[in-house]
Subunit: 161 residues, 2 copies
Amino acid sequence: MKNSTPLRIEEKIGAALRGTKRTLSAAESCTGGQISHLLTTVSGSSEYYLGSVTSYAIAVKKKILGVPADTIEKYNVVSAEVAAAMAEGVRKVTGSTFSVATTGLAEGSDGRYPEGTVWMAASGPKGTVTRLYQCDKGRKGNIRSFANAALHLLYEQIILK
Amino acid sequence: MKNSTPLRIEEKIGAALRGTKRTLSAAESCTGGQISHLLTTVSGSSEYYLGSVTSYAIAVKKKILGVPADTIEKYNVVSAEVAAAMAEGVRKVTGSTFSVATTGLAEGSDGRYPEGTVWMAASGPKGTVTRLYQCDKGRKGNIRSFANAALHLLYEQIILK
């Protein structure tokens, strides 16, 4: 029996979507494109991956993703509500079956949450789920950990029975 | 005299933009988020980096970036014309001072260009420039090289006198 390298989470997502006509999009804030980058390292990802919006600026969250201004004002940018609105917004604008979103603090604090905090959301035909995740690995390490955690949340939604 | 590590291209871009009130956005196809990821590894990038659109699907290129359908039909997706339209589209939708865009073949051929071909564009107040770049490093290596080449094209436009 051969040993085989365990699949990376972005490869497991690809294996779950390929040949099913189900598609995927992403809305990233603090992860800054890393989720999209990981998803597109997978050969054949253009079959199910439609694209993403990285919304560093609040204006981009509102204009392209359609996140309501009052959701941001009421709950702050780093919140379950904004993560959910981003995931639902990118799913709507791209027409994808599933989506994933992140909003958090790769570096620095917002006064409410410490550095290393992210709110993630995954959206699909069964609804939208959110999750809080925290780590303490510095800017680049936090970005990597946030992206990995968000892809796991997405994968759980894709394989949900 | 101390030796210092040369700045990475995304750090040089940050140094050129910081404190100038000039901003940046990206439209990525074949680079799949890697340009956005590199730009946002830089501490303080939220000062000048507004966001990006990764448009793997042609529908996303049309809908979010406003690339005209007849430009894609006439010139093909991997072309100077589509790269320029993507750069101008993301600059318009985000309202950024500068933008960078990529459209190419990280893996496989489109029948006209071989694998490893990318058309890049950078857009700014002085206009839009395009450049063809080719390499042969496999999917992941091509993505890395494309992103690096595109950031260099962008930097040239930022420091243009």
